[in-house]
């Protein structure tokens, strides 16, 4: 009754719920037995329990077919296995000799064998320390760690400070403090101080090795950029350089004689090094191997020239002789003559020196002669002037020293100004200047004379001599050719008159350029260019097609001829008859992009069209009037003039039936009817 009622109620509910279409599928009620039982149609109605799929899968009765296997498994499980950290008893049972040995070792070192956590020592210490002590120690350690972290943070903060002044101050303070401490230490404990000193020395060495202060840092680089404009930056850089020098300098240890020698050596070095620098700057041609070599040779010369002034005479003589040997053959005569003169002079001076004891009692004459002889070593290059100058010099040899000083200072100034880079070694230069002044004066005098006196060919070589140092290749030219003069220039052609001279010159040039045959190279280049520009033939022969093929076999000539497509020969090259010229035949696409590429209407050949565009229209090439005329528009309108739209009549167009205009004019009725129709249509829509 009640149950039935409930079921009815359930059914009703289900029916209602299935009405909305979501749960259409009707659960089929099993009413009769059937062979096919689907798991989908199983319902657990009436039982009031939920049906679980797993229950259905299980056999009705648990069979014991697997019981034996289970048993076996259980047995295996219950069996005890060997656990890896072996028990003590098991360990004690060390059987093999190797094991025994290992145990022995472990025992000896008191290493834990069974319990790996604590060694006996640790255990002992644990026993020794009480809990409180341990806590205290831990706290101490914690504190230290905290302090360290504070310190690190502070240091980091300080490091981040960008103020340079601050850092400078800090650094200075530190240095001062260190110095003070060191002083104190020296008083209190000399041994410790010595150790400290060694430490400092070591630090210096380290710094020296690390190549600091060498313009390679970030700061130095930035300063180097600014140094060109900023005086302060320049100074800072120089300071740094000085510091570098100071650091890298080898510390001298005692012994006065050694010091002297070293000093002189350094002096020579200092004299030389900036010279090299200056030469490079003067040439200003960068890393040109030719120039560099000439530079080094210059410095060598300078060295050799420097030496005779300081070294005793015989050596100077040797050096000058070796120098003389370097010179080309053409000069030899002059040089030989000069050497003889010098020798005689030196003999005389030596005689005079022999006669009177060396020192302050030298006569003025002999000293001046000595100076002159030195001068000659230096200024050998003045070839033709030498003779006259020597006479002059010997006659003027007794000019008092005071008079000589004046022009020297005059000459010194340009010398200094010519080398603006040479800042560091100004003092050396001043010293040098005193030695050089004589030479300079002697050099300058003939130049001045040359300017003042009439232009005679004798004076010419002065200027080329200056050039000598600048250009390496020029040297030979200057050596071989005679001095230019207006008269020689006025000679009509050299082929006619100066045959021999020219032959000589040609010989010289041939010798100079023996290695590179310019003409052959050029012809080769031209041949290559011609080959490259020729259109290529297309070879379509297939080796081995229709005949035997393989290694060493070539297709027959007949076949090759047959399948070779010859490229059409292009127009003759422009430089065909010009042996000394290679003209590029390649098409200039960039220019072609600006050229006209389509012929306009009435023209049939491009020559015709070219004629019409050959006259320029721009005002650059025409008079103003012509320009205006060429550029007048076809139709000119006045401003303000009303331009009516074009009518058919304007164009000369007779009204025709096709044109809408005429249609409208002729039968306006038809158009109105069409309009009406359209209106109707639109209203319907």
């Amino acid at each position: 009754g009640d149950n039935d009622g409930e079921r009815e109620h359930q059914k009703l509910l289900e029916a209602i719920s299935s009405l909305d279409g979501k749960n259409r599928r009707k659960l089929a009620e099993r009413s009769e037995a059937s062979l096919k039982v689907s798991e989908f149609n199983v319902s657990s109605e009436g039982s009031g329990e939920k049906l679980v799929l797993a229950d259905l899968l299980e056999p009705v009765k648990t069979s014991s077919s697997l019981a034996t296997v289970k048993k076996q498994l259980n047995r295996v499980k219950s069996k005890k296995t060997v656990e890896l950290p072996l028990n003590k008893e098991e360990i004690e049972r060390a059987r093999t000799p190797l094991e025994q040995e290992i145990f022995n070792l472990l025992h000896k070192n008191k290493q834990p064998v069974a319990d790996p956590l604590l060694t006996p020592v640790e255990k002992a210490s644990l026993q020794a320390m009480s809990l409180e002590e341990a806590k205290m120690r831990r706290a101490e350690l914690q504190r230290a760690r905290a302090l360290q972290s504070y310190y690190e943070a502070k240091a980091r903060r300080e490091k981040k400070i960008k103020s340079k002044k601050y850092h400078k101050v800090v650094k200075k303070g530190k240095a001062k403090k260190a110095l003070k401490e060191f002083e104190q230490l020296r008083k209190v404990n000399p041994a410790a101080a010595l150790e400290e000193l060694e430490k400092i020395e070591k630090a210096r060495m380290m710094e020296r090795m690390s190549l600091k202060h060498q313009n390679s840092g970030k700061w130095a680089k930035s300063k180097a950029i600014m140094a060109k404009y900023d005086l302060e930056a320049r100074q800072a850089m120089q300071e740094q350089l000085a510091k570098n020098k100071e650091l890298t300098q080898k510390l001298q240890v005692a012994s006065e004689s050694e010091e002297e020698e070293g000093g002189t050596e350094e002096k020579v070095e200092e004299l030389l090094v900036p010279d090299v620098v200056n030469e490079v700057q003067m040439n200003a041609d960068g890393p040109n191997p030719w120039m560099l070599r000439s530079c080094t040779s210059d410095t060598k010369e300078a060295a050799t020239q420097e030496d005779p002034e300081q070294l005793p005479e015989p050596e100077a003589h040797e050096v000058s002789e070796s120098e003389g040997e370097d010179r080309p053959v053409a000069e030899e005569e002059i040089l030989l003559r000069e050497f003889e003169e010098r020798r005689s002079l030196r003999k005389r001076s030596e005689l005079s020196q022999d006669a009177e004891p060396a020192g302050s009692q030298e006569t003025k004459d002999s000293s001046s002669q000595e100076v002159l002889s030195e001068l000659r070593v230096l200024s050998q290059k003045l070839k033709e002037n030498d003779q006259s100058r020597k006479q002059k010099a010997s006659s003027e040899g007794t000019i008092p020293q005071v008079q000589r000083e004046e022009p020297a200072t005059e000459e010194e100034e340009p010398l200094l100004l010519q080398r603006p880079e040479r800042v560091q070694t100004l003092e050396e230069l001043e010293e040098l200047g005193k030695e050089e002044c004589f030479q300079n004066k002697e050099l300058s005098r003939p130049v001045l004379e040359g300017q003042q006196s009439e232009r005679t060919p004798n004076n010419r070589p002065d200027a080329p001599k200056k050039k000598k140092k600048e250009q390496m290749i020029d040297l030979q030219n200057l050596l071989t050719t005679q001095s230019p003069s207006v008269k020689s220039l006025a000679v009509p052609t050299i082929e006619e008159l100066e045959d021999e001279e020219e032959r000589n010159q040609r010989q010289m040039i041939k010798e100079a350029f023996a290695g590179d045959d310019v003409i052959r190279d050029f012809l080769k280049e031209k041949r290559e260019a011609v080959e490259a520009s020729k259109p290529k033939d297309v070879d379509l022969t297939l080796p081995g097609w229709g005949e035997w093929g393989g290694v060493g076999l070539k297709p027959s000539a007949k076949k090759r001829r047959r399948f070779l497509i010859k490229a059409p020969e292009g127009p003759p090259r422009k430089d065909k008859n010009l042996p000394n010229v290679i003209i590029n035949e390649k098409r200039n696409i960039h220019t072609a992009a600006h050229q006209v590429r389509v012929l306009p209407y009435p023209f049939t050949h491009h020559w015709q069209f070219e004629r019409t565009i050959q006259t320029p229209i721009g005002s650059t090439w025409n008079t103003q009037r012509a320009f205006q005329k060429l550029t007048t528009p076809k139709v000119v309108t006045k401003p303000g003039h009303i331009i009516n739209p074009i009518k058919a009549e304007d164009v000369g167009y007779r009204s025709s039936s096709r044109s809408d205009l005429s249609v409208i004019q002729r039968n306006p009725k038809r158009i109105t009817t069409r309009h009406k129709k359209q209106l109707k249509k639109s209203s319907v829509d």
Binding site: G286, P464, P484, N588, Q595, F603, H605, H606, N622, T623
Partner: protein, 617 residues
């Protein structure tokens, strides 16, 4: 580029140049005056310079010569008949007197010819009537404009200066002091020496107007000044080696090739740019119409920098080692580079390879210069030769001369004078006229400087040569060097700041694209034949037939029974046969010509006639 003869403009050169190097000013001639005016010129007082038996004589007035010529030549070139110009009413004047010179003034043929640009040497194929009328119009236009230009030649009033020795005296012996003594004060002030011994040999450059001078010493001294008034614009030391210096399009900008990079300064000496892409530059050239700064570097690169937009247009690898010899061809803006293997190569930014290569010397090339018309190139090499080449297609040496020292620097003046710097001597050669190459027989002038020459340039529009040397800068007088008439709208030495600004804008608007630089500057007036042909071929392919091909003959239908099929065929055959015959005739002619040529060759190359041939019968 000055590729064509530009027409003289009326009223352009308004400020007359009184300071031309002429010893006397001429009286303006009036048309009523007699034809024998030149005699009065000789009588007019000249400066007292006859102290040393030499005289600077003024040239014969040019226009007198022209008038004479035109009288004789009765204007065959002028197409407009005088009747057209003559107004019958104006001819009959109030006084009843007749105009003694009826019609427009005659124009000399040569001058008109100078302005004609249509190349009439090529014979045109037969053209249609419509085309022919177009051609006629173009020709008429050309004639008219050239006549107008020739007429306005009259406005070029100034004449070039000159120097003449008395009865065969060598002008080379006249020294600067004498010239300065002879000329007027204003011109004498143009000779000066700047003694700058401290900062090494100087390179120098005049601005395009010739008014400003910039020089840079190798030890870093850079200065720019208005050299006429001697007003210094700026003077700085760049603290670096200066290799070359050049004005850009106006005197307001200055490019300096320094040791490391290229720098650009303004006329106050303020550094505007440092161009690091152009490093280790040795020589500079500025192409004014393209606004290109060409730099040759030690690393062997030729770089073109467009200064109007600041972009590098092209960086060409020359593959010839270090470059330190460069000059530009003012006619076509091609850059000439001299190399150590004795060749001179011609470059344009549009091509990766040289346009041409010329073998000039046995040794390396030391200096190259191209004259203002782009016709002649002077080169000097390590073999001490000075050669002048013809650049009009042949590239052959016209004259060669061995100098005792070989020239290290060369420069051409506007009127074609050639200067060579050899050591500390400067030699100047002059040609016969403006268009002729300088004859190297005898120097025109020589001068000795206080140091070896390092830079040379003639001042444009002035008879002045600037020489930079190790002792400073010298400005020397060279009569007849500069072009006497300047174009006031193009390069006006007297222009104000406003005028300069205006000119700058116009010049920028007329800037020539860099890719248009090629050997023939008139290439733009030619049709690109290759693409034209290509286009034609493509069109034929597309259409399937040649639209321009001649249509095959189609006989017209005739009446009265003459239009039978047989007769039509006959007529067709007739035309075909005629065409065939024409072809045969042509080919026969060609064959004959070829045979003749062969025979001529065989004759010329054959063995020399023996003496015994005369006995052969």
């Amino acid at each position: 580029m000055g590729e064509m003869e530009t027409a003289p403009k009326p009223g352009r050169d308004v400020p007359p140049k009184k300071d031309k190097l002429q010893t006397k000013r001429k009286k303006p001639r009036r048309y009523w005056e007699e034809e024998t005016v030149p005699t009065t010129d000789g009588a007019s007082p000249g400066p007292p310079c006859n102290k040393k038996n030499r005289e600077l004589r003024p040239q014969r007035p040019k226009n007198a010569h022209i008038l004479k010529k035109s009288r004789i030549s009765k204007q065959p070139q002028v197409p407009k008949k005088p009747q057209e110009w003559k107004n019958p009413e104006s001819q009959r004047s109030l006084s009843g007197a007749q105009d003694p010179f009826p019609g427009p003034a005659p124009v000399p043929v040569e001058v008109v010819q100078k302005f004609c640009r249509i190349d009439k040497s090529r014979k045109l194929p037969r053209s249609k009537a419509k085309t022919r009328s177009r051609l006629e119009v173009a020709e008429a236009e050309e004639e008219e404009t050239s006549i107008k230009a020739a007429r306005s030649e009259l406005l070029l009033a100034e004449e070039p200066g000159f120097l003449e020795g008395e009865d065969g005296e060598d002008t080379a012996k006249i020294c600067q002091a004498d010239i300065v003594e002879a000329v007027d004060i204003a011109s004498a002030a143009k000779h000066f020496d700047l003694n700058l011994r401290q900062f090494g040999p100087y390179r120098l450059n005049y601005s395009r107007t010739g008014r400003h001078l910039a020089f840079g010493g190798r030890r870093g001294h850079v200065a720019a000044l208005d050299w006429v008034t001697k007003k210094l614009m700026c003077e700085i030391n760049v603290m670096e080696a200066v290799r070359d210096i050049r004005f850009l399009h106006s005197e307001a900008l200055l490019a300096v090739a320094q040791n490391r990079w290229l720098h650009i300064y303004d006329n106050q000496g303020i550094e505007l740019h440092c161009i690091r892409r152009c490093d280790r530059v040795t020589r500079l050239e500025f192409l004014p119409f393209h606004f290109l700064l060409a730099t040759a570097s030690e690393t062997g690169f030729l770089t073109y920098l467009d200064v109007s937009v600041g972009k590098i247009v092209a960086a060409l690898n020359v593959r010839a080692g270090r470059l330190d010899v460069m000059s530009q061809n003012p006619y076509n803006a091609v850059i000439h580079l001299g190399h150590s293997n004795g060749t001179v190569s011609l470059w344009s930014p549009a091509m990766k390879e040289p346009l041409a290569k010329i073998l000039c010397h046995r040794g390396g090339v030391r200096a190259v210069a191209v004259d203002s018309t782009g016709t002649y190139m002077a080169t000097s090499g390590l073999d001490h030769q000075l050669k002048i080449f013809d650049l009009r297609g042949t590239y052959q040496p016209l004259s060669t001369r061995t100098l005792p020292h070989g020239a290290g620097h060369l420069a051409f003046s506007q009127r074609g004078l050639l200067v060579a710097g050899m050591g500390d001597v400067v030699n100047i050669w002059a040609g016969q006229g403006k268009a002729s190459p300088p004859s190297l027989e005898q120097p025109y002038l020589t001068h000795r400087l206080s140091g070896p020459v390092h830079g040379l340039q003639f001042c444009p529009f002035e008879d002045v040569l600037g020489v930079g040397h190790s002792g400073g800068v010298t400005s020397m007088l060279v009569p007849g060097a500069g072009e006497p008439n300047f174009d006031g709208l193009e390069s006006n030495p007297y222009r104000s700041r406003k005028q300069r600004q205006e000119w700058e804008v116009k010049a920028l608007l007329e800037k020539v694209p860099a890719e248009l630089i090629c050997l023939d500057p008139r290439a733009l007036a030619e049709v690109d034949v290759i693409s034209l042909e290509q286009g034609k071929k493509e069109r034929i392919e597309r259409l399937g037939y040649d639209p321009e091909a001649k249509a095959p003959f189609q006989p017209k239908p005739k009446q009265k029974g003459r239009s039978s099929t047989a007769s039509l065929v006959k007529r067709k055959r007739k035309v075909m046969d005629e065409e065939h015959r024409d072809k045969v005739r042509q080919s026969l002619q060609q064959q004959q010509q070829q045979q003749q040529q062969k025979e001529a060759k065989a004759k010329s190359t054959g063995a020399r006639p023996s003496a015994l041939d005369r006995f052969v019968r």
